[in-house]
Symmetry: C2
Amino acid sequence: MIKFSSRMDQLKGSAIRELLALANKPEVLSFAGGMPAPELFPVDKIKAATDAVLEEQGRVALQYTSTDGFQHFREQIAERMGAKNGIKTDASHILVTSGSQQGLDYSARVFCDKGDTIIIESPSYLGALNAFKACEPNFVAIPTDENGMIMEELEKVLATNDKVKMIYVIPDFQNPSGRTWPLERRKQFMDIVNKYEIPVVEDNPYGELRFEGENMPALKSMDTKGLVVFLGTFSKILAPGYRLGWVCADGEILKKYNFMAQAAALQASTEAQLVVSKFIDMFDLDEHVATIKDCYRKRRDVMMETMQKEFPPEAKFTFPNGGLFTWVELPDYINTNEMAKECLAQNVAYVPGDGFFPDAGHNNCIRLNYSCMPEDKIVKGMTILGQVIKANIKK
Amino acid sequence: MIKFSSRMDQLKGSAIRELLALANKPEVLSFAGGMPAPELFPVDKIKAATDAVLEEQGRVALQYTSTDGFQHFREQIAERMGAKNGIKTDASHILVTSGSQQGLDYSARVFCDKGDTIIIESPSYLGALNAFKACEPNFVAIPTDENGMIMEELEKVLATNDKVKMIYVIPDFQNPSGRTWPLERRKQFMDIVNKYEIPVVEDNPYGELRFEGENMPALKSMDTKGLVVFLGTFSKILAPGYRLGWVCADGEILKKYNFMAQAAALQASTEAQLVVSKFIDMFDLDEHVATIKDCYRKRRDVMMETMQKEFPPEAKFTFPNGGLFTWVELPDYINTNEMAKECLAQNVAYVPGDGFFPDAGHNNCIRLNYSCMPEDKIVKGMTILGQVIKANIKK
């Protein structure tokens, strides 16, 4: 009888994931994933960039490289963070990772021992919870309102729990809620964090996908004490297939992430780094981001309009100003895991909300994605979902 | 003052790594790395495969895929393991990883809690020790002879230590020693492992790079109880730049690796999987492996000849029948960390041996790589190294 580590008790397949595997059929209208629209991938430009890389520096592309990543690529990333997130930084503060999920994994491993406390938003990204669980932490989920984490609740926890080693937040177009923290909330947060000096992991995969309103400065841009670790990714602004993300952090913290990366993976793909770097040099990434934003905004609009029309008044949902998701809360008596089966029977898929809470429960919520279904399918899917919800409402 | 996890006390930068960073200059003859010869990378064929992938299935290549990897790619891997390692398996037993280093990281995390025992060979691959350290295990290093791990010593440990959760071995052209276990030793090992039912991680990056003699069957091919986890990689037979490796394991074990992979990284690069898969479909990977083996065998020969001629009789070294490395043992009073500085002053670099032992010490050893220097530079480098060693021999 083989013994596994105790962390493996935390990491389990979910019933819903197996259910959703069934959703991977062309006839299913899926609002479950968090995938970019594949029809907008700039395949021809990627091909031109790849050709250039393999012609000009093929042997470099196929060889090992350093753990932190290519200097020029890290310079491009640093420059982009300055332009998009108001973060003044440089290549020496960047570690390239194999996707942001790896950055999440490294974060918990750098800061947390078994039994330490990680503070998260309630709800929070299920992939992050899953990554962190491998370190067997205790989660404390801070209640949120329409402006994100409630700061009085955060301070209460920090004032009384001396096992907090890390705070994980997604201030921009949060996954799953779609909510964004306004400036005032960010300032309050940084005041509290500076007071308690707890490391913060700021996950920002969607920040560039703003449909309206002003860009908010990243927490990292307000970080005067070197406490914030910023996680960025090319998955949502270019393509997830390359698995390219990055960590931006200060001094000793970034050094630890580098040691962790060297132990866990050696480096991110050399070829992928050179191709994406060349793409940025040859083409206008901002132009591509504008194209996908335009498409996602329309899809968001269609989803919101259809939900307003087809959902019963008992269904509350967020209106995201960017990103990929909206969050639906139904009456407490509706179990969205059970309802998912009814929907799948009608070829509509979503992610039930309980996975976004460390202690499960919250069975009345749904995360919906609008980025990878065309508008007519969004109308059709939300109409069916509305009917299923209505049928579950008690009269 | 930021607190890091206790595992970060184990993961540190090494002085020698900083020293070797200096070795990254064109004038340095470096025998330090473990890199394939870049001049042999099949860049044109890789480019043809990449063009085909981006033309035929560009949107698939740039999108997310499943955690375990593409079905067809896993079928190709399973087929190759049958042909090369005598392992009868299929796609359902394969998990694609971002390089074998990730497989090492997952291995310790799947099997080991803090304080558990990991059995290794003495010496063992320093990158594996580094990956495992992130789980804060105790290492027990089993003595080796010219045929690998000494089985009587292994059994002694297993009979008395009930905290052993994993045995890590490299039976083919071991890193760093270059040694290969003969068939009889493999059988003994599997008998012992079957008796104690301890999971085995069989790391096999170099098995296909045999210069002479008969291929040995993999431990995994003799595994009747589903105890062996086989780690393979494309880094040494094709190109490390893609970060593509794989785990082959049975039932419940592979399931745990999949959960771990989902938490830690989601998936390996979609694009890289499709490109390497297409390369295997379009071209003859065996032909490419034959080309690099031919080159490495000549380089091994030149290195051995020069060492025999130029090294003093006090220097003992292994004669590898494949792989990338030879291992040098010098008199106990020579500190190869110190001697590395003398060599670097003459533009010759190697890896001192102490990093290949969990408890350091063993300061009289050297690992030498012959795969990525041309023959004339091997002659020049080994001649200089011989002179430096001679100057350090006490008369």
